[in-house]
């Protein structure tokens, strides 16, 4: 076997430039798979990992989530809904929330910003504990003119950075910033960073609504979450006389949904990578065909001195295997580099932290795919080489 490898090596080395290009062609295809899969796993981990920490939560929204992921809002909850929920056994905390866009002015610049209001204690439990405050303090029930702002509101939205004790005008009313959140991690970034937090009552005043848009529930026992979620839906549906007014979703079912979404994403990513591989395999076939053409004379000589068709076939297949293996390994390295780069760019662009995850299965799979694609695309040229008539091949060139 050593000699076969030596011959393959010599022949690859002899056509260095073209071999490198072929290796690169395969490597790019494999790198596409490896990087997309690694980032995909990182994304999934970033989201499901944090969701798992919140497994005791049930989020209740007034409306319906359709099978296609759409959301149809059906109005809002009432104080009665919230009070009725408190009678359900097994519930630890209930936080009613209101949200909506408000016009916010700071030093003569006006912007529409999302305002979020809730019971200060519960809301604090949901957001202050995991995210933390950078400056100031959290809201108190009697903070009629106090607000807490997210990191992007403080640092990015306005021309000047907002600090504690600065004044904001929200829908015409003056507020004092009493606290500023830390920059939130991936999961909380969308909920906290671009928002302004008020007490429930004040937010209802500011947004001029009586309705509650969102109820967050914490249960004592995670195993009972599904049952409690059903009970929540029944209770609220009864209040409103509708079958499907409330939608209570446990984090467990959210995790399942996210899993489904990621499976779809993964299929799409693999399809994209497959296209890259098809291109690479055409490249291999082309290179090997050219190599066969170029070496017609050599093949003829080999056959003249006693090589059987099988010998020629295996020599050429070994050569494509070596090239494909090199491509596969290079692709894994390149792919991992690309995965890190993608994570970095995503973090820079959106502030969402996604650590690409190196899974041995992805790398081994990448190399295996490279070998399979390589050998399959090399087979036709190798067979063509092995079938050549020795006398014609010797005469060639």
């Amino acid at each position: 076997m050593r000699d076969e490898f030596l011959m393959a090596y010599r022949s690859i080395k002899e056509r260095k430039g073209r071999s490198i290009l072929t290796v690169l062609g395969i490597a790019v295809g494999i790198a596409a798979i490896v990087s997309l899969m690694s980032v995909g796993y990182g994304m999934e981990e970033a989201i499901t990992g944090e969701l798992t920490k919140m497994a005791d939560m049930i989020s209740v929204i007034p409306g319906e989530i359709s099978g296609h992921g759409g959301y149809v809002e059906k109005g809002g909850f009432t104080d009665r809904d919230v009070n009725d929920l408190q009678r359900i056994w097994g519930i630890k905390d209930i936080s009613a929330m209101v949200y909506g866009a408000a016009e916010v002015e700071y030093r003569n610049k006006r912007l529409p910003i999302f305002v979020l209001g809730g019971d200060t204690k519960e809301l604090g439990g949901f957001y202050v504990e995991p995210v933390g405050l950078k400056e100031g303090r959290w809201l108190r029930e009697n903070d009629y003119k106090g607000c807490v702002i997210g990191d992007r509101v403080a640092n990015d939205f306005f021309d000047e950075v907002i600090h504690v004790n600065d004044k904001l005008i929200i829908n015409g009313d003056k507020f004092i910033v009493v606290g500023i959140f830390e920059k939130a991690s991936t999961l909380y970034a969308a909920d906290v960073d671009p928002h302004i937090f008020l007490t429930l009552r004040i937010s209802q005043d500011v947004l001029q609504t009586e309705e509650i848009k969102y109820i967050m529930v914490r249960v004592y026992d995670i195993d009972e979450a599904e049952e409690i979620a059903e009970e929540i839906e029944e209770t609220i549906n009864d209040n409103h006389g509708l079958d499907d007014f409330a939608n209570a979703m446990t984090m467990g079912s959210a995790l399942e949904q996210i899993g489904t979404v990621f499976n779809i994403i993964r299929v799409v990513l693999v399809c994209i990578a497959a296209i890259a591989l098809v291109v690479a395999s055409i490249g291999i076939m082309n290179t090997m065909l050219m190599s066969v053409m170029e070496r017609t004379h050599e093949i003829g000589v080999m056959k003249a001195i006693g090589a059987k068709n099988r010998d020629v076939l295996s020599l050429f297949l070994l050569e494509t295997s070596v090239v494909s293996l090199l491509g596969g390994v290079a692709g894994c390295g390149l792919g991992w580099g690309m995965a890190i780069l993608i994570s970095f760019v995503v973090e820079m662009a959106s502030g969402i932290e996604i650590a690409a995850i190196p899974k041995p299965g992805v790398f081994l799979g990448g190399i295996a795919v490279a070998m399979i694609v390589g050998v399959l695309s090399g087979f036709y040229p190798a067979r063509k080489a092995s079938k050549m008539s020795p006398v014609e091949a010797v005469r060639y060139g």
Binding site: D3, L6, S11, V301, I305, A307, V391, V394
Partner: protein
């Protein structure tokens, strides 16, 4: 013994048929040194390709040790080329990516001889043709004469009974040509059958018997 029976080869080039061999009947005894002479286009190389199992006849037959080679499978033919026949070409036809040792060892590689035995024998064969100090050289680093001697060493690789040379001195100078003929004479003395195609009368004169060809026919 090699025997041809009404050996005919017709090449088809588009619409045109070229009769390269016409009813050639020839017998070559074991241990004979025979030269086949004739102008280019007379069919001598075609005859050599038929005898060397590189090509199949259109009609008629080639017998090597009473085996009709036309009836053998491709694999069997490859086996005969490997075990019974050593080829020497005018253009040397060495593998330019391999060095002298590897080139000479190649037929043994195809015969499944172990690496150590192979390299040892290749080294001995190179020494025999006077290239003992050139084992690491690639063909391109050697003169034409040296390359042809390397090709002779390769032809001897699997210790064949028959050596076939297609204008073996055609691409080297007179001195190198004489050295090559000396080697071939030596191999003939060892009992090998030597068949050489040439259009050089001097070379032909060194063979034990000369057959002349013209227009695809062997002249008496």
């Amino acid at each position: 013994m090699i025997r041809t029976e009404n050996l005919t080869k017709v090449y088809r080039m588009g619409e045109v048929e070229v009769q390269a061999l016409r009813d050639v009947n020839l017998e070559i005894q074991d241990g004979e040194f025979i030269a086949i002479a004739g102008p280019s286009g007379s069919g001598k190389s075609t005859l050599l390709n038929m005898i060397g199992c590189l090509d199949k006849p259109t009609s008629g037959a080639v017998f090597i040790d009473d085996i009709d080679t036309g009836k053998l499978s491709e694999n069997k033919l490859a086996e005969i080329r490997r075990e019974k026949i050593g080829f020497i070409f005018q253009q040397f036809n060495l593998i330019h990516t391999l060095n002298a040792l590897e080139n000479v060892a190649l037929p043994m590689f195809f015969a499944g001889v172990g690496r150590e035995t192979r390299l040892k024998r290749a080294e001995e064969l190179l020494a025999k043709v006077g290239l003992g100090d050139r084992v690491d050289h690639k063909p391109s680093e050697l003169s034409g004469g040296e390359q042809q001697r390397m090709a002779i060493a390769r032809a001897l690789s699997n210790d064949p009974e028959i050596i076939i040379g297609d204008e073996p001195t055609g691409n080297v100078d007179t001195e190198a040509g004489n050295a090559i003929m000396d080697l071939l004479e030596g191999l003939n003395r060892e009992g090998r059958t030597i068949i050489v195609v040439t259009h050089d009368a001097e070379i032909a004169a060194r063979a034990g018997r000369t057959k002349r060809m013209r227009d695809g026919k062997v002249l008496d």
